[in-house]
Symmetry: C2
Subunit: 337 residues, 2 copies
């Protein structure tokens, strides 16, 4: 019996959250592993996707028949306002009878809204991970994960991560070889380096405590200065132990780890602004290239040089050649990377 | 005046070739850089995409109005059979008046069929690069490129590379900062490591020459054996110079480069089969880990270890946690990578 996948969709659904997974499943079919796809919405009929492109032929939960895997797609409004009661009811109806329940991007807000992720680990778009955690404190949000599985629930990071998630489902159903062949067809990696943390631009949470505020401001203003525990405690006129307690309460981490994170964010910005690795290491407070490299590998799963290449420009010294636009006519010179 | 992008689509069009670029342009709009999207088909109305999902509301070339950028999407049949006259005519009509003409994946076959890529560099899906080059000998196909620009023409590699291509268009129109913000929203890299060569499974072209055939078979059978030029020439009972000429004529490369390519392909397979880097270096004929690493960096833009991680499985030791399926109910144990 062909495995049936039901996509829960709605007006404003992110098209790529639907089309990416659908393309993975289509390619699985070409390899001899067919999946039945059905689009499910609260009222059936047509829904309007993020790009304006309509999705027609959707059915209601009642009309969807058997659904083995449910996939709830994301959309901008899910993180910005309470989830519609109708969308919740639709999702509950199909999730109840499915053996596997997945969400892409902000689709996690729908599953969380139904309490299905309580006590579970979950992923969502990096931009909304904090909101999901605050709105649903019983969900253990993993902000860096590309996708997370917990029991019969699988949740993914933002938008294109739906492709990664669906490859993982196919891998479960048909093995890593099938997933690899599909990834090659789609020209995507089976597993991405560094997880979602590579994409975030994490701003340190603003501390509400009047005591921490000036300390945090001084670290943010000059990350390369000396910010070890004793000097920070002295600046705040508290004991190191009390300062550590305050950091835990306000920022959920230790002073040293928080300072490292601020320096890493600063280093990422400097790198993308075109500074040399050595200059970045010095001005971000890491000192040596080797320390910078170690911190990058630990937090982002990549080196400073590879990170910069990945995020600086679409133009590469190999694999891409470009000329200026608009430049009709003949072949033009290459712009190096 | 809003930049207008016309997507040329048809029955069987790969949905992700359309929806990926459309999502990039939608995100550009959210950043204050709006694009008008219009779907164009030979007859207008509805077309059926690869996944079965219909695309409705397409218009004819005549009805499309002004089009600044044309983007021709791909589809399986474009590489497999001659391109429909209607699709060619539709594309010609919109391409003539556009300042920029792009193709995703096998969409390059449409542009090449119109002669628009003659004398130009171009990219297409790795699986069809050889076919494009054979069918259109005046096109300079770059098999490893993710996207290639030549004059007002931009062509991309397969399927998901349409996202990369569209980020490059936005970068041209609105700068690298805008492209980077969109890439972050979509959770994709702005520039991918290693180009398309990471995805191909290059089989050495079968030599038609009776003299090369047994030599090629012996290298393929045991890539790690000694295959330097003198010993290969001795085995074929020809002079080294004549052997080099034969390789050029039959395989378009030197004996040494061809042997290196065979060893690289063998090494990739052994790595994905789970062999250690040292074992792979020895059994593929590269000898040392360092040589293997150098060859990987030169051809694939990555290290053997990173290559394996990227292609072995969707399950990662960080960023993803998984349990067995179907496993309804409670949180389950993690399977490490």
């Amino acid at each position: 019996m062909t495995h049936r996948v039901g996509f829960v969709v709605f007006d404003g659904v992110t098209l790529l959250d639907v089309s990416g997974p659908a393309e993975v499943l289509h390619q699985a079919g070409r390899l001899g592993h067919p999946y039945d796809l059905v689009m499910i919405s609260a009222c059936g009929g047509e829904v309007r996707t993020s790009t304006g492109m309509p999705l027609s032929g959707t059915v209601t939960a009642a009309g969807a028949g058997r659904v083995d895997t449910v996939l709830v797609a994301g959309g901008d409004r899910l993180a910005e306002q309470p989830v519609d009661a109708e969308l919740l009811a639709t999702t509950r109806a199909v999730a109840e009878r499915a053996t596997r329940v997945a969400s892409v991007c902000t689709g996690a807000f729908v599953l969380a809204g139904l309490g299905l992720l309580d006590g579970r680990r979950a992923a969502t778009h990096w931009r909304h991970a904090g909101t999901l955690a605050r709105r649903h404190p019983r969900v253990r949000v993993e902000p860096d994960a590309i996708h997370v599985r917990d029991g019969r629930f699988v949740t993914s990071a933002g938008i294109s991560a739906g492709i990664d998630l669906t490859l993982a489902l196919v891998e479960d159903d048909h093995g890593a070889g099938a997933a690899r062949r599909i990834a090659r067809e789609l020209v995507v990696f089976l597993r991405r380096p560094g997880g979602q943390s590579q994409f975030t631009t994490p701003a340190p949470a603003p501390a509400r405590d009047g005591l921490l505020r000036p300390l945090i401001d001084s670290v943010l203003a000059d990350p390369a200065a000396d910010h070890d525990l004793p000097s920070m405690a002295r600046a705040a006129a508290v004991s190191p132990r009390h300062l550590t307690r305050l950091f835990h309460a306000e920022l959920g981490t230790t002073p040293a780890r928080w300072v490292e994170r601020v320096r890493l964010d600063h280093a990422r910005r400097l790198l993308l602004d075109g500074h040399s690795v050595t200059s970045v290491a010095r001005h971000s407070g890491f000192g040596s290239d080797e320390t910078l490299r170690r911190v990058f590998l630990r937090h982002l799963g990549t080196t400073p040089t590879a990170y910069r290449q990945r995020f600086t420009s679409t133009s590469a010294s190999t694999g891409t050649a470009r000329g200026p636009f608009p430049g009709a006519g003949d072949a033009v010179g290459h712009r190096g990377a």
